[in-house]
Subunit: 365 residues, 2 copies
C-alpha cells in the first residue's frame, strides 16, 4: 500500500512536466551562449556565482559559500520553439524542510507577452543532475524568455532544450533593462527563502515590476554587514541600494558596523539612494515575546542609525518601515519568519512605489 502511495505521489509530482521521451528529443544549447542577467561582478570564479573571486578567502566562508547560490541570476534568450526544456547540474542538491525543491534548486521560466513578463512554468528538480520539459504545445512563434536560476543552490552546468527544428538565440529586447541595476543586500528573505519558485522572490518580483535588473546579494543567515561586501557593492553603478539585513545581525553588530557599511558605499557612491529596510514584523513574534522584543529593539536601532547618517549630511538615505510590508493577517510566512509567495508578493507590491521613486530621482540627475 505504501508502494502504491509512492507511485501515486510520484505521478502527482510529475504531472505537467512532460514525458521523458520529449525531453530526450530536444536540441540542447549551453546557456553560456546567452546573456546572464542579475550579475553584479564580471570576475567571478565560475559563471553562475555572485561575488568576485577577489573575496575568496577574504570574506567569511559562509558568505563565500552562499555566493555560489544563483539567487537573482537569470538567462535571457529568444526562441520560436513550441517546446522548452532544460538540463542542469547542481553544486549542492540542497534539501530544506520548509522550502519547496522547485524554489531551492528548480528553474523558473517567464515569457515577455504584451510587454510584460508572464509566468510560463517551472522546471522541477529530481536530483543533482536534472532533465525536464518545462512547457510544451506552444504556438511556436518567436518570443523572448527569461529563465530564473536556483535560489538556494549553485549550478555546475545549464543547457536549454528546444525542438530540433527551432531557432534559439540572443534576446532582441532589453528587458529587464540593464542600465543601473537595483542592488539588494540582505538575508535569507533577500536571497528568496522560501519562495515556491525563483520568480517569486521579492527582488525578482521587483525586477519585473520595475523592468530593471537587480543584483541579489542576499546571504542566508549571513547578511551580517560584512564590510568587504560593502566594498564590492560600492563598485556597482547602481540606481539604488536596498539594505535589508537586520534580521541577521544583533543590535551589537548593528552598532558596530552599520554606519561603517554605509560610509563605505558613500565613499564611492555619494549620491545613489540607499534604502534601509526594517526587520519584518514576524507573525510568530505576536506569540514569542523574546522575538517580539528583539525585532522592536533592532528596528529602533535602525531608526537611530538612519537619523545619525542623515544628520551627518547624507541626503540620499531613506527608511522603510516594515509594519505594513507583508500585510496584517499573519499568514504570509511558512514559519513565522520566512516569506511564502504570498508574503513576497505583498512585500514587492509595497516596496515598488518606494523604489520606483528613488530610481526616478537618480535617472533625472
Amino acid at each position: 500500500m505504501r508502494h502504491l502511495l509512492l507511485i501515486m505521489i510520484l505521478s502527482f509530482a510529475l504531472s505537467g512536466t512532460g514525458i521523458a521521451t520529449v525531453s530526450d528529443s530536444l536540441k540542447y544549447v549551453n546557456a553560456t551562449e546567452f546573456p546572464l542577467i542579475g550579475k553584479g561582478f564580471a570576475d567571478t570564479q565560475n559563471r553562475y556565482e555572485r561575488l568576485p573571486v577577489r573575496l575568496k578567502g577574504k570574506t567569511r566562508p559562509a558568505v563565500w559559500s552562499l555566493s555560489k547560490n544563483c539567487a537573482g541570476l537569470a538567462i535571457r534568450f529568444r526562441t520560436n520553439s513550441p517546446v522548452i526544456g532544460a538540463k542542469w547540474e547542481l553544486t549542492g542538491n540542497v534539501t530544506m524542510s520548509h522550502f519547496a525543491p522547485t524554489g531551492v534548486k528548480g528553474l523558473d521560466l517567464y515569457c515577455l507577452k504584451n510587454g510584460k513578463w508572464q509566468f510560463v512554468n517551472v522546471a522541477r528538480p529530481s536530483g543533482k543532475t536534472n532533465k525536464t520539459v518545462i512547457i510544451n504545445h506552444m504556438e511556436g512563434t518567436d518570443m523572448e524568455y527569461m529563465l530564473y536560476l536556483p535560489l538556494y543552490d549553485g549550478l555546475v552546468n545549464l543547457e536549454i532544450g528546444v525542438d530540433s527544428t527551432a531557432t534559439i538565440g540572443n534576446p532582441q529586447v532589453d528587458s529587464p533593462r540593464k542600465d543601473k541595476p537595483v542592488v539588494f543586500y540582505g538575508t535569507s528573505t533577500t536571497q528568496g527563502g522560501c519562495a515556491s519558485r525563483a520568480g517569486m522572490s521579492y527582488p525578482n518580483l521587483l525586477s519585473r515590476m520595475l523592468d530593471r535588473q537587480i543584483i541579489n546579494l542576499g546571504f542566508s543567515g549571513n547578511g551580517q554587514l560584512d564590510l568587504e561586501v560593502a566594498e564590492v557593492m560600492a563598485e556597482i553603478d547602481a540606481s539604488c541600494f536596498v539594505i535589508d539585513c537586520i534580521s541577521n545581525v544583533t543590535e551589537e553588530q548593528m552598532n558596530e558596523k552599520y554606519i561603517r557599511f554605509l560610509e563605505i558605499i558613500r565613499e564611492k557612491r555619494p549620491d545613489v539612494p540607499v534604502l534601509l529596510v526594517e526587520n519584518n514584523h514576524f507573525p510568530h513574534m505576536y506569540f514569542d515575546q523574546t522575538i517580539f522584543a528583539l525585532v522592536q529593539q533592532k528596528n529602533e536601532t535602525l531608526k537611530r542609525i538612519y537619523a545619525e547618517q542623515k544628520k551627518k549630511g547624507d541626503s540620499n538615505i531613506y527608511y522603510l518601515k516594515s509594519d505594513k510590508l507583508i500585510g496584517n493577517d499573519f499568514e504570509p510566512t511558512v514559519d513565522g519568519a520566512h516569506l511564502t509567495d504570498l508574503g513576497f508578493l505583498r512585500m514587492a507590491e509595497n516596496m515598488y512605489p518606494v523604489i520606483r521613486k528613488l530610481i526616478n530621482s537618480t535617472l533625472t540627475d
Copy 2:
C-alpha cells in the same frame, strides 16, 4: 566548502524551531486525548484517516491510500503552556519536488486570539519520526489551539508537548463550529497541494473564515467521481457540498459519472446546497494550447451538466466560474496547476461569500 554550506543551510532550516533540549524537557500528551476535527466518518481503520473502513477493498486502491493522508484534520486543545512542541510519526515520510516538506508532512499551529484563528508557527518535519518545539516564550495564559495535521502524509502517532508544569486539556470554545460541516470533494488542490503549511490549503482557510468545520475529501490525482465515495459523502449531515474535481477527470468520465455522482448525493440529501466548481484557469494553459483546450472543454461540459441537473428540478445546485478565482496575474501556482499559499488565499477569499450564502440558506431552513 560543500560541508560548510550544508551546515549553514541546516542552521537556516532550523532557525526558530527551538533547540533540542527544550523539546526534550516537555511533557508529552497523546493527541488521542483531544478532539480531532474535520473528520467525516467515525468508523475509520485508524484515527487519522478520512474514509470509513467499509470502503477498504471497495474503492480504488489509490483513493483508499490517499484517504490515509490527514488533509483537513486538526487537533483542538487548550493550554496555558508558554511553550508548545510536538512528536509525530509519519506513515510515508513523503517527498515531493514542488511542495515544501512543512506542507506535505509538517504540523501547523493556530491560536484563537480576539475571536479569530491566528497563525502561531509550523512544526518542521525532519524524518519519519519527528520532535520539535513549535513556539516558545509565550505569556503562559490559557488559550485555545488548533493543530493542523499533514496534508499529504499519514500519521502513526501524534503527541503534543507542553511545559512540565502547564495544564493541557480539551477546548472550551466550539470553533470552528462542529454543526453541519462543509464537505469538499476533489483533487490535489482540494487536498492542499502545494500549500507551504497545512493551514493554508483553501478548505482549511475557508474553515477559519466561515468558523465552521470542513471535511476534506480531496484525493490527489484521484478526484475521479468514484460513486462509492459519493455514497459515503451523502451520509454526512453537511451544510454544503463543494465538488471541485474536474481537473482529475476526462470529459468522458464527466459524461459517464458526474450526474450519477450528484444523484447519489441527492438521494440522501435532496435539499443541501451543492456547489460545482470549474477547473481553475491554469496559468500555464496560456502557453500550452493542449491544456488550454482541455480546460475550456471540461468547463463547458460542467456547465452543461449543471444545466441538466437544474432542469431535472434540482433547485439547490450552484455553479462557480473559475475565471477570477485565483486572480489574473498568472503568479499563484508553483507549476501552472498547483496553487501556492498565494493562490489558495485568493481562492478561499473568492469562494467565501459564495459558500457563506449557501450555508446561511441551509441554516434558515
